[in-house]
Amino acid sequence: MTVLKKIIPPDDWKLPVIVLLGIIIGLGIYLFKISNAPSYLSESPTTCLNCHVMTPQYASWFHSSHRENATCNDCHVPHNNIVNKYFFKMKDGLRHSTIFSLRLEPQVIHIKQAGLEVVQENCKRCHESVNQNVNTINVTGVNYSHGDGKLCWDCHREIPHGTVISLSSTPNAIVPKLDSPVPSWLSKLLK
């Protein structure tokens, strides 16, 4: 209760504080909404299109064999346990959003070591049955970085994003566009 006493403002200040708190929280909610933050908890591939640099990846996936069976998270996020899944998502997401906000994305995006390890594990997770009798099941991203073994996509190179990697590689692809943050009832009113 003493903590509460310390932070509750004196009477004269109560109103300004309330208003200011409202402003900050309102802005926070606005930020939340326009950055589509809640979408990141879902498994939907359209979430990854919040950043338009992912258009070629979405388009190539959409035209690949994996479209019906695997979404972005199925390959790019670890599924060994639930804590690791959300921890990795958070780590990855924070990194991506920082780079995107600072406009640091390169023209040609190559997967990094952490992402590479996750994808390799996920290839094995789904395709275990065809690999368990051959040595390919033993390759991990870690072994690969030490020069031991080939990753699944060193041979299966087109899977699923194709061999041409660039922000410009699918310029005319039709992908779901971001919805306007303005709700339809409001834009009708403003017509």
Binding site: D11, I24, H52, S101, Q107, I165, S166, K177, L178, P181
Partner: protein
């Protein structure tokens, strides 16, 4: 009511810091909104571009991204193992070239070219265009301008192609002012890729092909093939004109073009030492590229030298035409997943191995020329020398075909190696014939080869007064050239630009 124990300044500090936090939150929100909006592509033309608009700056008003990336070709800071974007005095790097081109302009001055930004400046400055004193003076014809400026299609549309090819280089000095640019490759109304140089269209027609049917991907190489090709001046096609022609009628391989030139008994010059009827290869980049694996896989010139870039929602072509070695991420790694260092090593390995044999070939050619001169000096007859001179002609043509295009050893290493090997065989055949001939005409000593270890020594050996040439050039640069620039600027100042 709890007594407020905080000092008032603390409250003010809290108030101000909240303002700052909220302000920055707002900025972050704005940046997010901005990035959402840039998903859309917006093209806002500001000026009307006419059919004869040769000024790149005007095009740049409508296409700022392409324009600003194009003018980065002014950069000269990149150096690769053998080339780069700075000017390199090739005669200094390899003085044998002076002897190989004895009697021809290239022995005076041969520098590896820099970016397209410098096309006009460098043609003014090279000793090969000499020191004209007026519009009808100087060693070179008007045709030499053809590949240097968008003023060329402008003039051709006004005066006609054959007329353009008539007269001296200096005759059009006042008209040709803008460096290689937009009008050379793009249609002013639709911005499509288009061919503006008649020589390429005519070469296609003679082969029974229609260049209008080329696909967009093929066009991304063909616009470069307007100029980055082997050519010659046909003096017989139109009276008084040096008609720019591509020697592709038999095909684009080195043997095909060699056979074509032999069949019309064409030579670019007669070698001063050996008196061989020589051929100069000018940058057969496209011909060699079409024999390589990248072309076979459907890659075009622009895919590597002008890769696509995306900024926001806008995909555009990076018009900074340069060595892909300076842009490995976007040129090579779009398709090749290896590390940049490994890819560079792959390029240098191929260049190293080819240059090993190319250098050997140059040594043999120099020796062949000198041995031929020795034969002439000892009374050899034309009949005795005829086959030898043809061999020297062919061997040097093949050497030049592989060397004149600076990317050739990467664009098609197997073909280039094959051609150099065939040239070595021919050069040695010539030398065997000479070795047989010399004792027959009474020469039993040893042939004296000169010391040509530096450009200076080589130019003295062939009897070039380089100081005189440079002094004459300076007179041109100080006197006639400024009048050209002034006339061009005055003419352009009168041109209108229509804004939308």
């Amino acid at each position: 009511m709890t007594e407020n124990k905080r000092k008032s300044w603390v409250n003010w500090a809290l108030f101000l810091s909240t303002i700052i936090v909220v302000f920055f939150l707002g900025l972050l929100a704005s940046s997010i909104t901005e990035r959402r909006v840039e998903e859309q592509y917006v093209y806002k033309p500001t000026v009307q571009i006419t059919e004869t608009e040769s000024r790149n700056e005007v095009w740049g008003k409508n296409f700022p991204l392409e324009y600003s990336s194009y003018y980065q070709t002014a950069d000269t800071s990149f150096v690769s193992k053998y080339n780069g974007n700075a000017m390199i005095d090739m005669l200094e790097v390899d003085p044998r070239l002076v002897v190989l081109w004895d009697g021809y302009g290239f022995s005076k001055d041969y520098k590896q070219g820099r970016g397209h930004f410098y096309a006009i400046e460098d043609i003014w400055n090279t000793l090969r265009t000499g020191a004209p004193t007026g519009p009808e003076d100087g060693p070179q014809p008007s045709t030499c301008w053809t590949c240097k400026s968008p003023d060329v299609p402008r003039l051709m549309s006004v005066m006609g192609v054959a007329e353009f090819y008539k007269g001296k280089w200096a005759g059009k000095g006042e008209e040709i002012y803008n460096t290689i640019g937009c009008l050379d490759c793009h249609d002013p109304e639709s911005m499509s890729l288009t061919i503006t140089r008649p020589a390429l269209v005519e070469a296609y027609e003679r082969q029974g092909k229609k260049i209008e049917e080329a696909t967009h991907e093929e066009m991304r190489s063909l616009v470069c093939a307007q100029c980055h090709v082997e050519y010659y001046f046909d003096k017989k096609a139109v009276e008084g004109a040096n008609y720019l022609t591509f020697p592709w009628d038999n095909g684009k391989k080195v043997e095909d073009i060699e056979a074509y030139y032999d069949s019309i008994q064409f030579s670019d010059w007669t070698h001063s030492l050996s008196k061989a009827p020589m051929l100069k290869a000018q940058h057969p980049d496209y011909e060699v590229f079409t024999t390589g694996i990248h072309y076979e896989r459907g890659v075009s010139c622009a895919d590597c030298h002008m890769p696509y870039k995306t900024e926001g929602g806008q995909k555009y072509t990076d018009h900074h035409i340069q060595s892909p070695l300076n842009n490995i991420d976007n040129s090579c790694q779009v398709c090749h997943r290896e590390d940049a260092e490994e890819l560079v090593k792959n390029v240098y390995d191929r260049q190293d191995k080819i240059i090993e044999n190319r250098d050997k070939l140059e040594e043999l050619l120099v020796k062949a020329h000198i041995e031929a001169k020795t034969a002439w000096d000892n009374g050899a007859t034309e009949v005795q020398m005829a086959d030898i001179l043809q061999d020297i002609r062919h061997a040097q043509w093949r050497w030049d075909y592989t060397s004149a295009g600076h990317g050739n050893s990467f664009h098609s290493p197997i073909e280039v190696s094959r051609v150099i090997a065939s040239a070595i065989v021919i050069a040695q055949e010539a030398r065997i014939k000479l070795a047989t001939l010399l004792p027959q005409i009474g020469f039993t000593g040893t042939v004296v080869y000169p010391d040509i270890s530096t450009k200076e020594k080589a130019q003295i050996f062939i009897g070039l007064d380089i100081n005189k040439l440079e002094a004459e050039k300076k007179v041109f640069l100080d006197n006639l050239l400024p009048t050209w620039k002034k006339a061009a600027q005055e003419r352009e100042a009168k041109l209108d630009v229509t804004y939308f």
